[in-house]
């Protein structure tokens, strides 16, 4: 063809990066600036590829010496502040984010002694990275928050990967104290998906077993986490391995077995973690006619025991199918499902029998196998997921899915309408599709997905993996059908999508066309009059209600709109009226700025609930549903309460949204 010699099998992006790096290396100090941008651009693209981070780590020292940081604050690593890293990664322009990532990689090379820097010792570099990791634990535990997802786009997974990479390289030892506190904070929300947390605890235990770590006051907490996972009872204290433990059970007398059962149950309810040995015990009990120890092994209250006795055969079948060492965590879901008494609702038990007999479609089998592995049959994985979701309605998280609607719906149905949830699970698993109606017309998720396939959902529970693509497809279609109506589409979508109990009055604080606040005082007054027990005749909230909030970051700046469920409104132990709500975000403890910090424990929250004082929640609210048939007495709401909520709003997300109609 053409005489130009082809670069052959060298990857074009690598070739370009190498060229840019070479150009930077060659440039005189006064001309470095011109070449930095190109290198950052190319690095950003390489970072987004598999193995890109590792490749750039290998090049980071060379980039540093070439002058990538010349003329910037990053050129003097000794003066860098670990506390600023997070802000840069969350708020920086794309090139600055890339520069920060490359600086971290350069630090890592220094810390590992792979390179030297005149002004920074390996020890200083290591200390710096340790602090960065400790300050970004939230990031290590869960996928990006809305703030970061919106801001970073394609770079969000790169930043996640960076932190895990640094953690693997630096080791857990240095940051154990923070890590342990963080694990406890996450566990207090009782999430279904615990893989991140379990891998953290595994790392903690490895570090502790290596000895020489001074954990100080965190020692006790760390011991509890590690023992809950690896040896909660006398019989498995030494973490003997599953087969050895099974043999020990064969040799135990009844008192010892009972001790084992108590030990596991205590650890489980104490931490929310379930040890793999726990699953071995429960299966052994049923296989060896020791079923009467099951209530002890599940740590059931008299309520739970009652349910278990009423539905013994069903529960035993559920255990037989769904509880394995691989799915041990489901035991906690099972215990909580029994405690919730939902089996007493007539459709539930037969629906679970249907679930037990269900054979999933080939597509569903592939989908579940691809994301959850193939050690267990897809039916078993799905059943385990169903039990966990029914036991922990507020434990579902959106995983890596950028839209929160589906996770919120799953949680709401599990909480409020579990037989409907079981219906759609069975339907989707068998027929690869869901049908929901919108204003009388059926919407078929299978057809919608055929036209616009959606990516798989990762980092979440089996039910979400199955249902979220279908729910998102239907939700998006509903949105499309209302797109031309000139008003917020949730007005029509929410009641049809979630269920009959969603209030038919739709109240919104923002004018959709202009984005400005509209009739905000009236909006707040109606919310108080409808939801606040002091002003609504002391009527507790009956059904969970979808609501929309304006999420702000820790500087109180607007990030985006987010869907939550308002669950209840009640006084906490300090007599503060709080709104308890569900946030489908994977970790709900968030700082929304101006002192508005979402609490997840210690203020009367039940597991999985988030809470804020009433006026603080009201200040971030922009959509709620109300029952139009109730007569509200809005004049009872004191003006100063409205005023306080209003001020919190206009000093944060609504700062640029004031208008004459506000």
């Amino acid at each position: 063809m053409h005489a130009v010699t082809a670069p052959g099998d060298i990857d074009p992006l690598e070739e370009k990066l190498t060229h840019a790096l070479h150009a930077l290396e060659q440039a005189r100090p006064f001309a470095k600036m011109r070449h930095q941008g190109a290198l950052l651009d190319l690095s950003a693209r390489l970072l987004q590829r598999e193995g890109g981070l590792e490749r750039l780590h290998a090049l980071a020292t060379r980039m540093d010496r070439a002058g990538l940081f010349a003329g910037t604050d990053w050129d003097t690593p000794a003066a860098l502040l670990p506390g600023l890293v997070r802000h840069t990664l969350e708020q920086g322009a794309k090139q600055t984010v890339v520069l920060e990532i490359l600086s971290q990689l350069r630090m890592l090379a220094l810390a590992k002694g792979e390179a030297e820097h005149p002004n920074l010792t390996a020890q200083q570099a290591r200390h710096f990275l340790t602090q960065v990791l400790a300050l970004n634990l939230a990031r290590i535990f869960a996928a990006a928050s809305e703030a970061e997802r919106v801001r970073l786009g394609g770079m969000a997974p790169v930043v996640d990967h960076l932190f895990h990479f640094l953690l693997d390289e630096i080791g857990y030892q240095q940051i154990l104290g923070n890590l342990i506190e963080e694990v406890w904070r996450i566990l207090a929300q009782r999430p279904i998906q615990l893989d991140h947390v379990k891998s953290m605890i595994t790392q903690i235990s490895i570090v502790m077993s290596q000895g020489g770590v001074d954990l100080g006051e965190n020692r006790l907490g760390a011991d509890r986490l590690v023992s809950a996972l690896f040896g909660p009872t006398q019989g498995c204290l030494d973490d003997p391995g599953l087969a050895a433990y099974r043999q020990r059970l064969d040799a135990m007398d009844r008192t010892s077995l009972q001790q084992e059962a108590y030990g596991f149950a205590r650890a489980m309810h104490d931490t929310g973690l379930v040890s793999d040995y726990h699953a071995v015990l429960v299966r052994w009990l049923l296989g060896n006619e020791q079923g009467e120890l099951l209530p002890d092994a599940l740590g059931l209250s008299s309520t739970g025991v009652d349910v278990l006795r009423s539905y013994q055969q069903l529960v035993h079948h559920l255990i037989e199918e769904a509880i394995h060492p691989r799915t041990a965590q489901t035991l906690y879901g099972l215990a909580m499902m029994l405690e919730r008494c939902i089996l007493y609702a007539p459709p539930i038990a037969p629906a679970l029998w249907r679930q037990l007999a269900l054979r999933v479609s080939a597509n569903t089998g592939t989908l579940l196998g691809n994301t959850l592995g193939r050690d267990l049959a897809p039916e078993q994985q799905l059943l385990a997921g169903v039990i966990s979701l029914l036991g922990l309605p507020l434990g579902v998280g959106q995983g890596n899915n950028p839209t929160c609607q589906a996770a919120r719906a799953l949680s709401m149905w599990s909480y409020n309408d579990p037989d409907y949830l079981l219906h759609i699970i069975a339907h989707a698993a068998r027929f690869d599709g869901l049908v929901m109606h919108f204003e009388g017309a059926p919407l078929h998720s299978a057809r919608l997905l055929a036209a616009h396939p959606s990516p798989s959902v990762l980092d979440t529970d089996p039910v979400s993996i199955l249902l979220v693509p279908h729910l998102d497809a239907i939700y998006n279609e509903m949105g499309r059908l209302c797109a031309h109506r000139g008003e917020d589409p949730h007005r029509w979508i929410n009641p049809e999508f979630h269920g009959w109990w969603v209030g038919r009055a739709f109240v919104i604080a923002v004018d959709v066309a202009s984005g400005k606040l509209i009739n905000f005082d009236a909006f707040l007054r109606q919310f108080y009059a409808s939801y606040h027990p002091y002003y609504n005749g002391n009527q507790p909230l009956i059904h969970p209600q979808p609501a929309g909030i304006a999420v702000t970051d820790s500087r109180a700046q607007f990030v985006g709109w987010h869907a939550i469920t308002i669950i209840r409104v009640a006084l906490d132990q300090e007599n503060v009226m709080r709104v308890y709500f569900f946030n489908p975000n994977n970790d709900s403890g968030q700082d929304w700025g101006n002192g508005v910090v979402v609490s997840t424990q210690g203020q009367g929250e039940r597991y999985g609930e988030s809470s804020l004082p009433f006026e603080q929640l009201a200040s971030r609210l922009y959509i709620f549903h109300d029952d139009p048939t109730e007569e509200l007495d809005e004049f009872d709401v004191p003006g100063e309460e409205i005023q306080r909520a209003r001020e919190l709003a206009v000093n944060s997300w609504a700062v640029n949204r004031l208008s004459p109609k506000s």
Binding site: V4, T5, A6, P7, L13, K16, A20, F30, A31, A38
Partner: protein
């Protein structure tokens, strides 16, 4: 700083360009930068040898700078910008004791004189005339279209209007109607008018020493004012023997012993080559950077070598690669102009960003939302750089960029 080779010359660089200084600082010639005083502090801070000089119109003081450089021991002066070409001519006529160089420089600086000289040398040029005011333009437009046998009411063939002494597209206008003529500000006169040639326009970069072409590159324009790439497609490279002949004619006609020239040509549909204009300085649109990307040699260093009287043929033979055959790939760039009147941010389209040929961009984020109206051809906001194996794919890719929005 690289150790200077004592057997080579000492060059003065006229004009301030960080790219050029960076390259020359890395080269083996001793150098000194001659540039306006605003650059002096920066030069001092970065140990760049520097003489402060304000390049206004050549005047009595031009001999002063020539003498100063001669005293300094400088062998030759190298112009970086259009405005310093006549200064280099004046200075070199003193340094090299060759008064002819001054006159030669003036030919390069005046587009009308340049065309006339080319025509005298037997080089094919389009129809051209000088315009001193708008009536000249109207007259020329009418005469050209009469010659094309257009009737009243037929759409006119356009004519081109160019400032006498500005580089590249600056002050270049396309005129079709009397209204267009009306829009020309008076300060743009006098100017050169040319008939429009339908055909393939391209540029040549020729490095000349001892009246011989040492290296010749053909830059293919995809769309004038938007995009260019090197080396050209085989379709255009096919013309290389003819191009070489034309450059040799220029060397004779303009009496060029040494230096670097950057002429533009047209190939018309009937296969005739027309000379457009020629400049005696590095071209715009980062053509030097493109050459370096494709061939691996630095064109500023090459240019210095062409001017240095102490350069040997052996040195040049070792320095230059074999045209086209030695290129590692094709390098191109695209100049971005915002397409909308109101913009809010810079957004590189995914199809550009993810293309394996895309390298990087130098587009600034917008400082204000309103885009100033373009006059004439205007200046682009920044360049996108591409590099890849297949010139046709690169050409189509550059063409494709014209449809995309980079500011939304």
């Amino acid at each position: 700083m690289t150790d200077n080779n004592p057997d080579k010359g000492y060059v003065a660089i006229l004009g301030w360009s960080l790219n050029a200084i960076d390259a020359i600082d890395r080269f083996d010639r001793r150098y000194i930068i001659v540039a306006p005083e605003w650059a002096e502090e920066y030069a001092r801070e970065n140990d760049i040898p520097f003489i402060s000089w304000n390049f206004e119109r050549i005047n009595d003081r031009s001999f002063e700078i020539a003498q100063r450089l001669k005293d300094e021991g400088v062998d030759v002066a190298v112009p970086l910008f259009e405005e310093t070409v006549e200064w280099a001519g004046a200075i070199n006529s003193v340094l090299l004791d060759n008064p002819r160089l001054m006159g030669q420089a003036l030919l390069f600086r005046d587009k009308a004189l340049m065309k006339r000289r080319a025509q005298l040398g037997g080089i094919r040029v389009g129809i051209f005339e000088e315009a001193h005011d708008k009536s000249d333009v109207i007259h020329f437009l009418r005469r050209v279209n009469q010659a094309l046998l257009k009737l009243d009411g037929d759409p006119n063939d356009p004519i081109h209007l160019k400032a006498f002494d500005k580089a590249g597209c600056l002050g270049h206008r396309v005129v079709r109607t009397a209204d267009d003529v009306d829009n020309i500000p008076d300060e743009e006169f006098p100017a050169l008018m040319e008939s429009h040639l339908d055909g393939w326009e391209f540029a040549v970069e020729a490095f000349i020493k001892d009246r011989k072409i040492q290296f010749l590159n053909i830059s293919e324009y995809v769309t004038l004012g938007y995009s260019v790439f090197v080396p050209a497609t085989p379709d255009l490279e096919k013309w290389r023997p003819r191009v070489t002949e034309e450059i040799e004619k220029l060397i004779e006609t303009f009496d060029i012993d040494f230096g670097f020239i950057h002429p533009e040509y047209f190939v018309t549909n009937d296969g005739k080559m027309y000379f457009g204009e020629v400049a005696y300085r590095p071209p715009g649109f980062q053509a030097f950077e493109l050459i370096e990307r494709a061939y691996g040699f630095n064109a500023y260093q090459a240019m210095v070598m062409m001017f240095d009287p102490k350069t040997t043929q052996q040195e040049m033979d070792a320095f230059f690669p074999k045209p086209v055959a030695d290129a590692k790939g094709h390098a191109g760039c695209f100049g971005v102009y915002p397409k909308r009147r109101v913009i809010s941010e810079l957004a590189i389209p995914d199809e550009t960003e993810n293309h394996p040929y895309f390298e990087f961009h130098e587009l600034p984020s917008p400082m204000e939302n309103k885009v100033p109206k373009r006059t004439a051809f205007g200046t682009h906001w920044g360049l996108l750089h591409f590099f890849g194996d297949d010139p046709y794919q690169l050409r189509d890719l550059l063409k494709k960029q014209e449809e995309l929005d980079f500011y939304v």
